[in-house]
Amino acid sequence: MINFHKVSCTFGSPDAGVKNISLNIGDDDFLFLVGPNGSGKSTLLRLIYMDCFPDSGIVKIKNFRSNKIRQKDIPKLRRNIGMIFQDFRLLPDRDVYQNVAISLYISHYKAGQIKKAVHEKINQLNLGHRVHYKPEQLSGGEKQMVAIARALIKDPIVILADEPTGDLDPRSSIEIIDELYKINQNNRAVIVATHDYDLVKRVPDAQIVSLKDGEITSII
């Protein structure tokens, strides 16, 4: 489903980005990108949601190809990708319901569908009692759960999580990884960038791609 073919993206500096990456990610893979800061984990994720483009090589996500995609098609690609960030990226002035619903408004869903789907997803992630809370009233773990709900609700082909547990305590981190694993068990690809090796061990059948200085050092 996601294919990196000899991809280099260095942002004009030999010490940054990724170099000559070739990687295939299947429809139901759980993949960890591990490595120290600056190893290229986030760059690989950015290449998937086309926030940056390869200097050479091609990134292919379903029918979207990095060398052919038009600027106006990038939003369409992103509507097929669920994204989770270390800093949650929730809208601070909206409550939980609105933060989750925004994804569906962007994807032009109908009003009735939005209400039903949001409540279902919020309850599924045990956030029902927080539905009218603003992000500032939530714990770190709850915020990340809202971000997961927002990512999941649009039924994406893949979930990208960039250091999703970076700002969380160990218990919340485990909850988040377990939730992502559960999502993966429902036949959805999940890619998690992290430098927390303990978390990697919680997902038994995950693929682990180790990166260093922008290059893949091992795939387990």
């Binding site: 949601y49 990226r89 809208l91 925004i102 408004y105 962007i106 869903y109």
Partner: protein, 287 residues
């Protein structure tokens, strides 16, 4: 449709959220349109005053003493055919003597034993031709007639009038352009400040797959609302000032202000355009 209403709602929410920056934008639109409105009313009345002065402008064509009825008749029919001529009046020698008596209180025949006053035509041009260039061209043509002895008109009056009218036009245009430009720059900078504080929201929306139009729309709606509110306040102030002037200050200032519905509509439309232009200009940097 649901997206449309969502974006409208977002625009209103943005207006409430922007607080200080939003209030500042409204204030700028308000002040600018009040000044422009006053400027427009004053300049409109000045132009009207100049035009009413111009309406008094006429040309006197004095004929030869020897001009006979046939010559005068032919000349009159020529005047009738001249495009620029609005109306004309023939003043015979005896009419001129009457006029002399009215103005000086003495009969010219008793003063001079004969009537030296020539027959003449008093010509008023159509308003659009009451300018120096047209007048000079017309008088030059008319002076070619052999029965025309002399043509008189207030050339200096026309020169001064045109000078003032040009000055008024320059001042009005300059003021409008300057204030329009300054306010659009100020508005877009203020909106830019407001958008800057929400740049993370914009980038999140884009990561979620929002198109540029989806991100832009609430800010543009917010700008339009700010322009509308500022313009409405300016209209209220102008109405209040005109009411005060017309009803309570007539004894001090002999000036009646007329404000009609088209002016209010123009102010509102201008305010909306200012908000629209300012917000489109501001959001461009963040997309």
């Amino acid at each position: 449709m649901i997206v449309f209403w969502f974006l409208i709602r977002e625009g209103f929410r943005g207006l409430v959220r922007s607080k200080f920056a939003g209030a500042f934008t409204i204030l700028i639109v308000w002040i600018t349109l009040t000044i422009l409105g006053i400027g427009y009313i004053v300049s409109r009345d000045m132009v009207n005053a100049v035009n009413s002065l111009r309406a008094q402008f006429d040309i006197n064509i004095f004929l030869e003493q020897t001009a006979n009825q046939q010559d005068i008749k032919e000349f009159a029919s020529h005047l009738k055919s001249v495009e620029e001529v609005g109306q004309y009046k023939f003043i015979s020698k005896s009419d001129a003597a009457e006029k002399f008596k009215d103005e000086f209180g003495k009969d010219i025949l008793t003063v001079l034993d004969h009537n030296p006053l020539p027959p003449s035509f008093n010509v008023q041009l159509k308003p659009v031709y009451r300018n120096l260039a047209s007048v000079e061209s017309i008088t030059s043509d008319l002076s070619k007639f052999s029965i025309v002895d002399e043509i008189k008109y207030k050339k200096n009056f026309l020169i001064i009038l045109e000078k003032y009218q040009r000055a008024i036009l320059y001042i009005i245009t300059g003021t409008f352009l300057l204030f329009g430009f300054i306010s659009i720059v100020l508005i877009s900078n203020t909106i830019k400040m407001a958008i800057f504080s929400r740049r993370n929201i914009i980038s999140t929306m884009k990561l979620l797959g929002a198109t540029n139009n989806f991100v832009r729309a609430p800010f543009v709606i917010e700008g339009i609302l700010q322009g509308f509110i500022g313009a409405s306040l300016a209209s209220l102030v102008l109405y209040g000032l005109s009411y005060l002037l017309n009803n309570h200050l007539q004894s001090i200032i002999q000036y009646t202000v007329e404000i009609d519905l088209p002016l209010f509509i123009a102010i509102i439309v201008f305010g909306i355009l200012m908000g629209l232009t300012g917000s489109i200009r501001a959001i461009r940097k963040f997309l």
